[in-house]
């Protein structure tokens, strides 16, 4: 009789616990909340890894500060990585799994959001996109659980148009048929819609094709005096290769993918081909100077080591990649922590709503936050242009914003 009483109490305790548990679980001394990283670790490892590292570093910093205080209890943030392999189907499976595992939030590269937002939305789990900038991915009214800390395609495309059109270049718009390429092409079409005379051709490239010489030749034949290539890093490398192999020294403009290490790795045998490549992306530093960003970069490198691009300058110095997209992932995590604190709840619905009401000072000193009308945290004004020279890049001098920005050292 006495042996069985504890069994009764245990059963009752389990029943009560089952009623009270949310998405958290016990881990060590403190409870933890799960954040899932859904990113292309296998297909574009640089993107997947940099997002994961930004999230993990933020989680570690937040946990070191004592975690997130909710209802008088401290919670650690725990990170799980799921590979979407740039496949919307895999992304959907991952999000289902994340929701099933009780994730408090999903930090996402952006693939498959058209399907995944709804699955996450049914349980009010917020998704923070930190790489892709597709215009339709984020909509505060229609997709209330989707947020983004990354430059938008709208901002990138309009800034590119604003930069290129006054130069009186005839632009060939080349995009690949990946989701990234298609959404970028849509934004470019809108951005150039008022200046159709600036467009020489609009051509689709097969994503992953090693040889796009026929399409580049077509662009040249159409009278193009500049290439704007919106695609995955291999597509950009292939387009540059095709142009330079043909002896065509045409200026090339790209979105942030142009700065992916893979582009330089694929062109490592011909470093001069990279020279002049100009890409648009979000600024790394803010008004208050490079200090905040450099402090983050130092902490990132202390944790993971400096990210080698795998190429060298003409003088033989190895080139390192600034952790730009890790910065966005890190910032989203800080905003998430602020929202958890404001919501004072582990209910994802409360956290999703609270994300609209908080701001933090981001890694680069810029404000990061969302609001009820806008779930974008990188404003279009913050898009700048950088140009490659000797395998490293620096801000261009002929754009008002870019001209104010410092060069971030990429050689040690």
């Amino acid at each position: 009789m006495t042996r069985a009483l504890p069994i009764v109490l245990l059963v009752l305790a389990c029943t009560v616990a089952a009623a009270g548990c949310g998405g958290s679980d016990e881990s060590g001394a403190r409870k933890s909340l799960l954040v899932v990283v859904n990113a292309p670790f296998s297909k574009t490892p640089y993107v997947g890894t940099t997002i994961d590292r930004g999230v993990s570093l933020a989680a570690s910093d937040i946990n070191d500060r004592g975690g997130v205080s909710i209802g008088g209890e401290s919670y650690d943030l725990r990170v799980k990585r799921l590979d979407n392999a740039l496949s919307p189907r895999r992304a959907l499976q991952n999000v289902r799994r994340a929701v099933g595992d009780g994730a408090i939030a999903i930090v996402d590269e952006g693939t498959g959001i058209d399907a995944t937002w709804e699955v996450a939305g049914r349980d009010d789990v917020p998704i923070g996109i930190v790489y892709q900038g597709g215009e339709d991915l984020v909509d505060a009214q229609k997709r209330p659980n989707v947020y983004r800390v990354a430059p938008t395609n709208h901002g990138l495309a309009f800034r590119l148009a604003e930069y290129v059109i006054p130069k009186r270049l005839k632009v060939a718009l080349l995009h690949d048929d990946s989701g990234y390429g298609e959404s970028g092409a849509a934004s470019l079409r809108k951005a150039f819609s008022l200046n159709p005379e600036a467009i020489a051709a609009s051509i689709t490239l097969p994503a992953g094709a090693l040889d796009v010489a026929p399409q580049v030749l077509r662009a040249r034949g159409a009278g193009a005096t500049a290439l704007m290539v919106w695609g995955l890093p291999p597509t950009i490398a292939a387009a540059i290769t095709a142009a330079r192999t043909a002896g065509w020294d045409v200026p090339v403009f790209t979105p942030p993918a142009g700065a992916d290490p893979l582009v330089r790795q694929q062109l490592a045998d011909h470093p001069s081909w990279v020279d002049g490549l100009t890409f648009a992306t979000g600024r790394l530093t803010a008004e208050r100077g490079p200090g905040p960003y450099l402090a983050f970069q130092q902490r990132y490198e202390d944790a993971y080591g400096a990210e080698k691009v795998g190429v060298k300058t003409a003088a033989g110095a190895p080139v390192y990649q600034p952790p730009e997209f890790a910065m966005y992932a890190y910032d989203f995590m800080q905003v998430l922590a602020a929202a958890l604190q404001l919501a004072d709840s582990t209910d994802p619905a409360e956290v999703t709503k609270a994300l609209e009401q908080v701001s933090v000072v981001g890694v680069n000193g810029d404000e990061r936050g969302f609001n009820e009308r806008n779930h974008e945290s990188v404003v279009d004004d913050d898009v700048y242009f950088a140009r490659f020279h000797d395998m490293t890049f620096g801000p261009v001098p002929d754009d008002p914003l870019s001209a104010t920005l410092p060069v971030i050292d990429q050689v040690r």
């Binding site: 069985a4 029943t15 008004e287 009401q357 009820e372 009308r373 004004d381």
Partner: protein, 344 residues
């Protein structure tokens, strides 16, 4: 007799938390204070009794400092949109309007905000009351403020008052001043208002009046057809700043010391009050010279739709079912446990 130098009231310090509505803005988010030219138009729709039932505010900011900007303007916002000519779109939170971006030289930001009437109306400068056959408009800005009486040195104080007058006439920032006194200051209080210039029509009758600045604070007119169409702007206390007896300056006027000190404080406190009501929504530039026009128009208060019959809340229902299931599970577990216990 010992002399002491005392500070006169600051023409810059607000005399109350509001206005601006919702308090002061957050303007140093990124460590930079921007030069901003701010103009605002606040439109209040009033019902047949003169009570505001809808308030909109349009704030136009011309940002002049090159660089990043982040402005968080407190406001009891229902909804906010970009206004005409805006080069960016505002963000919205429960109690603020947000702007952020990069300014390459000059940028125009226009927010068109619908405000929660109860919170917005209590900060309006003009009260309209329609009763019986009359309409009374009154200056709603008076506030009790601390002052003091003493015997000052007349000449320097008169020169300072002339400087205040000149700055006011030219629309410049009013300098902060002091007075040298020869006796113990005695604290006292005074009611100060932001003088209000009101023009327009009430019941078809033309109105053009300044309420305050030494004039009456209210005006009663026949109701007529009851329609209100008024524009109100706070104005500097130019009447109180005018030297008496036709003198060209305070230095040339004959005024005794205590009266001069009293006048200087009355003027400075009113200028501070004017500055408050000149930025109904907070001015992101703390050194700025915002200007606000208040518009009052009659309207028909929207009739509330009849309340629909209560509908079962899905979530509440789900929670109830979950609770019942947990309860039943618990009871079953308890029964099973008791059975085991009984047989052991």
């Amino acid at each position: 007799m010992a002399l002491a130098t005392v500070a006169l009231p600051s023409p810059l310090n607000p005399l109350s938390t509001e206005p601006p509505v919702g308090g002061r803005p957050l303007v140093e988010v990124e460590g930079i204070i921007h030069r901003v030219l701010t103009t605002e138009e606040v439109t209040a729709r009033v019902d047949e009794r003169g009570t505001p039932f809808a308030v909109r505010a349009r704030q136009r900011l011309v940002v002049l400092t090159k660089g990043d900007y982040v402005f968080i303007v407190p406001a009891p916002v229902i909804a906010v949109d970009a206004g005409p000519g805006s080069e960016s779109s505002p963000g919205q939170r429960r109690a603020s309007i947000l702007w952020s971006g990069f300014n390459a030289g000059r940028k125009v930001l226009v927010a068109d905000a619908r405000l929660r009437p109860r919170e917005a109306a209590k900060v309006l400068p003009l009260r309209v009351e329609a009763k019986g056959s009359t309409v009374t408009i009154s200056n709603a800005t008076p506030i009790r403020s601390s002052t003091f009486t003493a015997t000052p040195q007349v000449a320097p104080l008169a020169r300072y008052l002339d400087a205040v007058r000149a700055a006011t006439l030219r629309g410049r920032l009013v300098p902060i001043g002091t007075a040298t006194i020869s006796d113990e200051p005695k604290p006292t209080h005074a009611s100060v208002e932001a003088p209000l210039h009101v023009a327009g029509t009430i019941g078809g009758r033309r109105v053009d009046v300044v309420l305050g600045d030494g004039r009456p604070l209210r005006l009663t007119v026949p109701r007529g057809d009851g329609k209100i169409d008024l524009r109100a702007e706070v104005v500097p206390p130019s009447r109180l700043l005018t030297p008496p007896g036709g003198a060209g300056s305070w230095a040339a006027a004959t005024v005794d010391g205590p009266a001069l000190l009293d006048r200087a404080q009355a003027v400075l406190l009113r200028i501070a009050r004017v500055r408050q009501y000149d930025s109904y929504l907070a001015d992101p530039d703390p050194r700025g010279n915002a200007q606000t026009t208040y518009v009052y128009r009659s309207g028909r208060r929207p009739v509330a739709a009849p309340r629909a019959a209560p509908v079962a809340d899905d979530e509440a229902g789900t929670a109830l079912v979950r609770g019942l299931l947990v309860g039943l599970g618990g009871a079953a577990a308890l029964a099973a446990g008791l059975a085991v216990w009984a047989r052991s």
